[in-house]
């Protein structure tokens, strides 16, 4: 039986007269890799901030991991992970300090922190870099570490906001290995990206245009529906000629 881990019904978010999210309706299934795409200005970031419990909707129903967005925002925050391109780890703390810090915020015990951080550093090959400041660690490693830290508390859902932006092509693929592993372990992954080949790795993809959801389906069906060879073509067909310049 398919279980929905995120439910969004008629979500509306307005900023003054401007409608950033215009009656969004969608569900995210447990364990899926859900791609959230859209042109700049389409309303993606607004929607993600609401799902992460960082902002209230203007109206509509939102449930994240069984918690209600209006009354249980703190429960939501405790049960999700988040990582973005722009902010992931603290540059002036070491690798180990960052792991310890985030694990602490997520409520892990000292023993859990000790075990998990050793496991994590071994897995990513970062043992030698344990006491290196993050600002001296190359970007690709930083992003892989940030992802691992975002799921260190085994959240039900992890939100990834353009996690592979500007990263070299080999590391990008290694990063997606980590995402696949997490999904296999049952973590639902909600990811946005500007790399259209990455859209192909998602179980389902939604494309936002002008505050609305213009399409939502598996990459295979989207390509058939829009007579496209790949997700890049699907995106261009949907997102071109919109009112947001």
């Amino acid at each position: 039986m398919v279980q929905n881990i995120i439910t969004v019904k008629n979500l509306v978010k307005k900023f003054g007269h401007f409608v950033a999210n215009d009656h969004l309706n969608f569900e995210v299934r447990k364990g899926e890799i859900f791609g959230f795409l859209g042109a700049n200005g389409a309303g993606k970031t607004t929607a993600i901030r609401i799902l992460c419990g960082l902002s209230y909707p203007t109206s509509g129903e939102v449930k994240v991991g069984d918690f209600d967005i209006y009354t249980q925002r703190n429960d939501i925050k405790r049960n999700i992970g988040y990582m973005s391109q722009r902010f992931s780890l603290y540059d002036d703390l070491t690798v180990y300090e960052n792991i310890r810090f985030y694990a602490g915020i997520y409520g892990l015990s000292r023993k859990e922190i000790s075990t998990k951080s050793a496991m994590l550093m071994k897995k990513l090959g970062l043992e030698e870099a344990k006491d290196k400041l993050i600002k001296d660690v190359p970007l690709g490693w930083k992003q892989k570490l940030a992802f691992s830290v975002a799921i260190i508390h085994d959240p039900k859902i992890v939100f990834l906001d353009e996690p592979t932006g500007g990263v070299d092509p080999i590391t990008r693929r290694q990063f997606w290995n980590l995402i696949f592993e997490a999904a296999l372990e049952g973590i639902t992954v909600f990811v946005t990206t500007h790399y259209m080949d990455e859209a192909e790795y998602c179980d389902r993809v939604t494309i936002m245009v002008d505050g609305k959801i213009a399409a939502l389906d598996t990459p295979a069906i989207l390509k058939k529906t829009y007579d496209a060879a790949n997700m890049n073509e699907v995106f261009l067909k949907l997102a071109r000629n919109t009112s947001t310049a």
């Binding site: 897995k123 500007g166 092509p169 693929r173 500007h194 995106f235 071109r240």
Partner: protein
């Protein structure tokens, strides 16, 4: 920490030249040196014949610069930003309007809107106009398409190609490998070193191996199974396909197909393909890795796609 190691190159007038490489490759440092904002430790550089250290004032008059992350004043309107830049360079919007007309027309309807309230794609167009308003001989665009959606990226490159008609020399940096094919020539840069400089078509011709795109009904297992195939040089995932490389004339497609059927795959497609710039870039990373790159490549342990 060395950001750039012995970089040498020449760009002829009117060329559209791209620096293709990930964050941390040294692109921004290089651009800042050439834009006379940072001093090199060794070596020399000339822009339009002027030395970046001795004649920096002369360079600054004829250079248009769009740094990574936006160069706009968020609390000024579109029109105010453009007017400000024109004034600093001792000109007016009217004087060189023809040069920016095609781009500016797209944002003109929003000319009284604050730059901070523009979408990413619009900010990019405005920043480009501001970099061009004084009719520079050369422009440097540092990652102008980073964080911008696929549609805006396509439009931006169309604008750049049209700019070439005005014989402006354009130097662009980008982490997006697919944008390399839109340049006259590119430098593939990683960890402060240039791995290759050439026309994109030539880089592709130079690729040493034979490449195939393989698909099957079970994409995830496909990568693992391909990894185990004898003689295979590399496996990289590209969306729904796996790109596999072999030394020339080694692979028998029929043998590979049999192998995949035996490992339980159906709907198998195997097609020989030309490499794209990303294939070439990854191969160069692996061929002659820097210590940093070695660590990246070797850090891939269990359950890998690579």
């Amino acid at each position: 920490m060395k950001a750039l190691h012995d970089i040498s190159f020449e760009i002829p007038k009117g060329e559209l030249f791209g620096f293709i490489g990930p964050d941390g490759a040294g692109k921004t440092t290089l651009f800042r040196i050439l834009a006379t904002l940072v001093l090199p430790d060794k070596g020399m550089a000339l822009v339009e014949g002027f030395d970046v250290v001795k004649d920096f004032k002369k360079i600054r008059k004829i250079l248009g610069y769009m740094p990574g992350r936006f160069s706009l004043y968020m609390d000024l309107s579109v029109e105010e930003n453009l007017s400000f830049y024109a004034t600093i360079f001792g000109t007016t919007i009217k004087q060189n309007y023809d040069l920016i007309k095609d781009i500016y027309r797209q944002i003109e309807p929003f000319k009284t809107r604050r730059a901070g309230d523009l979408s990413g794609g619009m900010k990019q167009k405005l920043a480009l106009c501001c970099a061009l308003i004084h009719k520079p001989a050369v422009i440097f665009l540092d990652e102008p398409t980073t964080g911008v959606d696929a549609v805006s990226r396509v439009e931006f490159w169309e604008m750049l190609r049209r700019l070439k008609e005005s014989n402006i020399t354009i130097m662009v940096s980008t982490p997006y490998m697919d944008e390399a094919s839109l340049c006259d020539r590119v430098a593939l840069i990683q960890d402060g070193k240039i791995m290759k400089i050439n026309k994109p078509e030539e880089i592709i011709v130079d690729y040493r191996f034979q490449l195939w795109a393989v698909r099957s009904g079970k994409s995830f297992d496909l990568l693992k199974d391909l990894h185990n195939y004898p003689g295979i040089h590399s496996v990289q995932v590209f969306g729904q396909s796996a790109h596999i490389a072999f030394e020339k004339s080694i692979l028998s497609v029929e043998d590979l197909r049999k192998y995949l059927i035996n490992t339980g795959h159906k709907d198998i497609e195997i097609e020989e393909i030309k490499p794209n710039i990303e294939d070439c870039f990854m191969e160069l990373m692996v061929l002659d890795p820097t210590p940093q790159e070695k660590k990246i490549i070797n850090s891939d342990s269990e359950g890998t796609m690579l």
